[in-house]
Symmetry: C2
Subunit: 199 residues, 2 copies
Amino acid sequence: MTEQADTRERILDVAQRLVQHRGYHAVSYKDVGEQLGIRNASIHYHFPSKADLGLALVRRYRERLQVTLAALDVLSSPAERLSRFVDAYRDVVRDDGRVCLCTVLAAEDPALPETLRPEVRAFLDFNERWLARVLAEGRAEGELRFDGSPEAAAAAFLATLEGAMLLARSAHDPARFDLVVRHATAALHAARFFQGASP
Amino acid sequence: MTEQADTRERILDVAQRLVQHRGYHAVSYKDVGEQLGIRNASIHYHFPSKADLGLALVRRYRERLQVTLAALDVLSSPAERLSRFVDAYRDVVRDDGRVCLCTVLAAEDPALPETLRPEVRAFLDFNERWLARVLAEGRAEGELRFDGSPEAAAAAFLATLEGAMLLARSAHDPARFDLVVRHATAALHAARFFQGASP
DNA sequence: GTCTATAACTCGATAGAC
DNA sequence: GTCTATCGAGTTATAGAC
């Protein structure tokens, strides 16, 4: 039983890396099995259909982020929480040509199994809501500054993060992610108004 | 000859729509042929391999944008040019579940044919350079305002556009694209500093 | 230029031995 | 739980008739 659970998790680990790399349709059961030294039929034992595998992938991904962000909520400073949120995304980009799982899946959205699409959407929505809350608190406390609703600012910030991952990978330049993210983060800090006032 | 050229263009039209919808790997020669009433073998006459088709797709896409943006360069106002640039992207999102061709391809980047990847990168680079120039001029003329280098601001703005398309489509809410883009555009306008000063 | 036909391959998925 | 073996469908691509 422990063996089963372990194999199941290792399948998800490998599949997640591959999908983050290539996208959903360019990853096969055979690809996943080869990296684990097992046959594609064995993967069907754990995940009867590819849609099942994809579903488990996105759900685990979201659950893990929920745990990460819940841990950040104990921090008193909204700016600090925002910074740690960005760090979580940077960890994805850093090691090799990966991007956020749900960014890749969102790009294939209309071609995904019907069961998967609401899960991708739920992941993105969760990110937006968490960000909106942090931004709203940050503005209320005077630590962060932005115009418009927290919801719009949150959606824009998340969009920037997603796009930055794609740009950085296409350019084979991980530093471009930091360039963009530092720019977007700096714009949210109140100090910007004093710096920006002198041209 | 005119027939040939026409069919070739129509193949590209259909293929572009499909790839913007589903991604590169989820589109087949059969899919394209069915919408044109021809067989997949006929498409191989015009584009011997799928990599050839993909290459022609991205090159035509870039050339068209270059024409569009060259037409905008006659406008004296950088802010107006920026607004028209956003309009060009909005046109892509508007009608149905499409996103920018190169956003989709960038998401599959490591799984694309080797010949395609530099073309995707070139498209994104061209966008960044055009934006950087407009932003630099806009700041110099006092029409636009941002901190940091024009290159960083351009990369961030393009990243936001790309991400906004993915978010809007996943949410089945085209208005979300406008929400994000309006937020990002407003932040670049100098007037923001006066509006933003009153919380 | 487009067709039919098919080769050669890969895919997701199942059956049944162990 | 993992294996071998295989099915049926889909994929890119080619050959050759028209």
